[in-house]
Structure formats: structure tokens, C-alpha cells
Symmetry: C2
Subunit: 188 residues, 2 copies
């Protein structure tokens, strides 16, 4: 029997493709194994189990999302930066829906690597907010509001929660612009 030449990264990569194509809920070791032309238990030589797989997907996705957002906002400030950030977030969530969904599972407390990336993402948002003169506790509130807005739109759209036929992207842009305006008077 010829070897399949699996590696942990290969397994995770296929799993991500599957999750992005079929949805995070369809991510199953059986399906990944089939994709790789391998028997299901063989995967355990490369990942600890389904939970580990999800964790690794989440870690990769969070890193990519952070990189995308960082790149998008580089050299910009205020409204321009905020729009770029929102756009990058939207773009990533739509290009990699399964990976994005994986991101939401809270990282286990012993995953310092991922916690670090999460901090980096937070720092990008803080940096943008600083351009508005928002810092400290104000920045925490504003960051949460922005995340809720971004995630809310993405999640509700993915769940088919927006019944009306109107263009969701347009609503999203207006929401971001409205948030941008409210940042001007954000400080207590």
C-alpha cells in the first residue's frame, strides 16, 4: 500500500477547504479523510482529534484575519482606516466562511499562541481608534461595539437572517459610516 504522504498541515489545509466550502458544521473527520483518500483513523497520526482540528483552523484563520486587517489599515487613519478595516473583515469572512466561523470558539486558556494573535488584532483596532482620540475604557467599549457590528452583520447574513432582498453590503457600509460618525463624539 503506497503512502499518502499526509502531514499535519496538509490535513488542516484540507479541513479548512472543506469547512469553507460546505460550512463549519459539516467539518467532519470522515469527510476530511475521504477528501484525502485515506481511512478515517489515519488522521489521528497527524491531529489529536476533531477538537484539535477546529482549534488549529481557528488559530490559522485568526492569524490570517489579523494579517488582512493589519495590511488593510496600514498607513491609513480615521474614516479611511475604519472603512478599510471593516472591508477587510467582511472580505475575509466571506472568502473563508468556515475558517471564520471556527474563529468564534473561544481559545482554550492554554493556547498562548492564539491568545497572542488575538491581542495583535485588538491592537490594530485600538490603533485605529487612537486616531479618533479614543483610548482606555472608551476604546474598550468602542472596540466591542465595532466587533459586534462586524460580526453581527456577517453572522446574520450567513444564517440567512436578513430576509429583505435589499443589498446587505450597502447596509453594512452605512452601518460602518454611522459608527464612524459616532466615534467623533465617543469620549464621555
Amino acid at each position: 500500500m503506497p503512502r499518502a504522504g499526509l502531514t499535519p498541515s496538509l490535513v488542516v489545509a484540507q479541513a479548512r477547504e472543506l469547512a469553507d466550502e460546505a460550512g463549519f458544521s459539516q467539518l467532519t473527520l470522515a469527510a476530511v479523510a475521504q477528501r484525502l483518500g485515506v481511512a478515517l483513523p489515519s488522521l489521528y497520526k497527524h491531529v489529536r482529534g476533531v477538537e484539535d482540528l477546529q482549534r488549529q483552523i481557528a488559530a490559522q484563520a485568526l492569524r490570517e484575519l489579523t494579517d488582512a486587517v493589519t495590511r488593510a489599515t496600514a498607513g491609513k487613519s480615521r474614516t479611511t482606516a475604519l472603512r478599510a478595516l471593516a472591508d477587510a473583515y467582511w472580505e475575509y469572512a466571506h472568502a473563508h466562511p468556515g475558517s471564520y466561523a471556527a474563529t468564534l470558539r473561544a481559545p482554550s486558556s492554554d493556547d498562548t499562541e492564539t491568545a497572542l494573535v488575538a491581542t495583535r488584532l485588538l491592537d490594530v483596532v485600538f490603533a485605529v481608534l487612537e486616531g479618533y482620540g479614543i483610548t482606555g475604557e472608551d476604546a474598550v467599549d468602542a472596540t466591542r461595539t465595532l466587533r459586534a457590528l462586524l460580526h453581527g452583520f456577517v453572522a446574520l447574513e450567513a444564517a440567512g437572517g436578513f430576509g429583505m432582498p435589499n443589498d446587505v453590503r450597502q447596509s453594512f457600509d452605512r452601518a460602518v459610516d454611522a459608527f464612524d460618525l459616532s466615534l467623533s463624539g465617543w469620549r464621555r
Copy 2:
């Protein structure tokens, strides 16, 4: 063998309790059956299956949420109404996390009953927005923004996505107030 005296509503009620206590993802026919002191296949005499169960939970929850929001905003307008709406939403999502989560699954197109309730909920939001003089397409955008904000906060908090120890409820209130302010200049 004495009968257990199950009914569809009893099964759904127990399922909801389970979902609210253990989380929507823990909702399993096996667990519901155990709770009712009954063998798993017996449930099929009262519900069509796990999907049907989820659908019924979603329908009930959506109705309750709509009622809560309707009650909360009755006789109020603008800021007062908006705050009451947000508060009722937050309250419901926290009091019934499992049921709330069920709500997000898009209703199947043949479930006119639930679609109707969804419209009722939408109408409540539209009514509040009308108090701000926002109608038509503007109202669609504003409604989506509000829903994204509300759901985003609830979902991210439930997923443990808010790392910082600061009070999430306070951030939520600020977000709602910021949205309230931006509604004043919402019209194009």
C-alpha cells in the same frame, strides 16, 4: 409498563430547558429522552426528529422574543423605546441562551407561521425607527444595523469573545446610545 404521558409540548419544553441549561449544541434527543425518563425512540411519537425539535424551539423563542420586545417598547418612543428594546433583547438572550441560539437558524421557507412572527418583530423595530422619522430603505439599513449590534454583542459574549474584564453590559449600553445618536442623522 406505565405510560409516561408525553406530549409534543412537553418534549419541546424539556428540550428547551436542556438547551438553555447546557447550551444549544448540547441539545440531543438522547439527553431529552433521559430527562423525560423515556427511551430515545419514544420521542419520535411526538416530534419528527432533532431538526423538527430545533425548529419548534426556534419558533417558540422567536415568539417570546417578539412579545418581550413588543411589551417593552409599548407606549414609548425614540431613545426610551430603543433602550427598552435593546434591554429586552439582551434580557431574553441571557435568560434563554439555548432558545435564543435556536432562533438564528433561518426558518424553512414553508414555515409561514414563524415567518409571520419574524415580520411582527421587524414591524416593532420599524415602528421604533419611525419615531425617528426613518422609513423605507433607510429603515431597512437601520434595522439591520441594530440587529447586527444586538446579536453581535450577545453572540460574542456567549462565545467568550470579549477577553477584557470590563463590564460588557456597560459597553452594550454605550453602543445602543451611540446608535441612538446616529439615528438622528440617519436619513440620507
